[in-house]
């Protein structure tokens, strides 16, 4: 039988696991989502408090100091980050979790070998996989963070023999793992594996384009969950196994949902080096002197004011310019004039699925004005004006019409079927996929260049006198 302390820990862990599951369940509805997150946080607090009772813990100051520093850092970044930068924040926190899992695995290996304890096959395998997956998740997340934060170029980075080199690193990781498990490898061997896995994580994300980062972060998120579960096997701790696997399973499902929305397989995202090959071709085709028709805020205001139906298509540009409130004010003014206004939400507009919903919800846009892709695509032919605010790839007709385009097959919003299209954009620069967009050269399209918030403000002012 367990002694009293061990029983308290075990029962607390069971309660925590239930709280995690309830928390995740409550996250499934907008009305209960916030409380769901808090329920999960309570589960976490309980699990961590119970762990402090563990007889194995003899000194507390390292834990206290480390938790304090980590908590202050985490809370500070989480509270100060801009809404637009939240995806990369998730990547960064995920990377830290991955690093933790890898370090825990290595430390436990060092402790066990030094104590002269035999390491079983199950434990050894868990240590090796926990170290490798945690390390890959760490550097992979850091690279994803760098790409989204635009510290690193968003374009796929490729060099000769890349796949061969990656394959060799992978083989190195696997062979070192085999040595550690079956051939009594030393701590040095495991550190070597750790280093190789760090390089592999970076190499694996570098050739992936910025547009695919949401899928990558989702994959890395589930990998960190798996790594956490593996440390549970190493430390004989069921709490880690349960919580880690919950994340691993949900993250995998979320990854599949995201790639479905982009009509691409996960393998294609990981190994396709999307957008790299097409850049030259796209640049060449732009040079063929197609014309872009510019418009002014005043003309835009008139076009909107005298339309019967307007559909707004928000994209990353809206997020960058923090124009969600301005766009909502413009929509309200239009509605006062009797114009029907809807928002067309592409599942992967912005940097993450749901990114646009989050931003527009912040600006108090009613849910029933937000239309999903399938709902809205049938309405475009009857729409007088489509206002594209900083979206690009998700409205690129090449995805539907041009089999040679790298985004061919991705479901898009058929805005080119509307009667008039006005595109708000900073410049003629490419979207995240790094490819040209025929929509901008369409005869029905007018371009309004400038920062989205600035442009929308000017349109709003012009509307008042229109």
């Amino acid at each position: 039988m367990l002694d009293f302390r061990a029983s308290v820990i075990a029962v607390s862990y069971i309660v925590s696991a239930v709280l995690f599951i309830f928390g995740l369940k409550r996250l499934s509805s907008p009305a209960t989502a916030r409380s769901g997150n808090r329920v999960a946080a309570v589960g976490m607090a309980l699990a961590l408090a119970a762990t402090l009772l563990d007889a194995q813990i003899v000194s507390f100051w390292t834990i206290a100091l480390g938790t304090l520093i980590g908590a202050v850092m985490g809370i500070y970044f989480a509270r100060t980050v801009q809404m637009t930068a939240m995806p990369q924040m998730v990547a960064l926190f995920n990377g830290m979790g991955g690093a933790t899992a890898a370090l825990v695995s290595v430390a436990e290996f060092i402790r066990l070998t030094r104590a002269g304890e035999a390491i079983g096959l199950g434990e050894g395998t868990s240590i090796v996989l926990g170290t490798a997956i945690g390390a890959i998740s760490f550097t992979g997340s850091i690279i994803a963070f760098g790409k989204l934060q635009e510290i690193l170029p968003g374009k796929p980075l490729q060099f000769p023999l890349q796949r061969l080199i990656n394959a060799l690193i992978l083989i190195a990781v696997l062979s070192l793992g085999v040595v550690v498990v079956v051939a009594d490898g030393t701590a040095q061997t495991l550190w070597g594996l750790f280093a190789a896995a760090l390089i592999l994580g970076a190499m694996f994300v570098l050739p992936i384009g910025g547009g695919d980062m949401p899928v990558v972060i989702s994959i890395l998120n589930s990998l960190t969950g798996l790594a956490a579960a593996l440390t549970g096997f190493v430390l004989h701790n069921q709490m880690l196994v349960v919580a880690g696997v919950l994340v691993g399973a949900s993250g995998t499902l979320l990854t599949l949902l995201m790639s479905t929305a982009m009509n691409r397989s996960v393998a294609n995202v990981l190994f396709g080096a999307f957008g790299a090959a097409s850049n030259d071709a796209a640049a060449a085709s732009t040079a063929v002197g197609r014309t872009v028709r510019q418009t002014t805020p005043e003309d835009t205001a008139i076009a909107l004011a005298y339309a019967r139906s307007v559909v707004i298509v928000p994209g990353y540009g809206l997020a960058v310019a923090e124009a969600q409130h301005t766009v909502r004010e413009l929509a309200t003014d239009l509605e006062k004039r009797g114009v029907s206004v809807k928002y067309a939400i592409h599942p992967v507009a912005g940097r993450m699925p749901g990114h646009m919903n989050v931003l527009l919800a912040e600006a108090n846009v009613p849910y029933d004005q937000l239309l999903e892709m399938d709902q809205v695509n049938g309405e475009f032919p009857q729409t007088d004006v489509v206002l594209v605010v900083g979206a690009n790839d998700v409205v690129n007709p090449a995805a539907r019409d041009d089999p040679s385009s790298p985004i061919y097959g991705m479901p898009i919003l058929d805005v080119d079927r509307a009667r008039n299209i006005i595109v708000l954009k900073r410049s003629m620069g490419h979207g995240f996929a790094g490819i040209d967009n025929a929509l901008f050269y369409h005869e029905k399209t007018r371009m309004l260049f400038g920062d989205a918030r600035q442009s929308l403000t000017e349109v709003g002012q012009a509307l008042k006198s229109a």
């Binding site: 995690f20 995740l24 996250l27 907008p30 989502a33 916030r34 997150n37 999960a40 699990a47 961590l48 402090l52 194995q56 000194s59 507390f60 390292t62 834990i63 480390g66 304090l68 980590g70 985490g74 809370i75 970044f77 980050v81 939240m86 995806p87 926190f93 830290m96 979790g97 690093a99 933790t100 370090l103 825990v104 290595v106 430390a107 060092i110 030094r114 079983g120 096959l121 199950g122 998120n221 960190t224 956490a228 190493v234 701790n237 069921q238 196994v241 919580a243 880690g244 696997v245 919950l246 399973a249 949900s250 949902l257 993450m352 699925p353 749901g354 989050v358 931003l359 108090n364 009613p366």
Partner: protein, 103 residues
């Protein structure tokens, strides 16, 4: 294989099913907060870091444990706070939602 390992594998498999079952009902609007929320939950790995740091008996293990606790705690606290901030914006729709700042 030890009895404990087999039990662990059972837990592992059951948790996969629970994870899939619970998540599959989440609407796409909530995918970003969900990713962020699950991200916070895998911060549970800080628990392992605590066990390492608390039982460390060499400077090396102290150092590894300390770094792991810092990273893990950042994952947990940052993860839950950032998710809460995202979800804060999913307030219930109210008719006159324009001036709510002074509430």
């Amino acid at each position: 294989m030890s009895q404990e390992l087999i039990l662990g594998i059972y837990v592992f498999i059951m948790a996969i099913f629970v994870g899939f079952e619970v998540i599959s009902r989440v609407p796409s609007v909530l995918h970003t907060p969900l990713m962020s929320g699950t991200n916070a939950i895998h911060g549970i790995v800080v628990l392992g870091a605590m066990l390492i740091a608390g039982s460390a008996d060499t400077p090396l293990l102290h150092a590894i444990g300390f770094i792991a606790v810092v990273f893990g705690a950042a994952n947990v606290f940052g993860g839950f706070v950032v998710t809460d901030r995202m979800l804060e914006m999913f307030k219930k729709r109210e008719p006159a939602a324009t001036e709510k700042k002074d509430a």
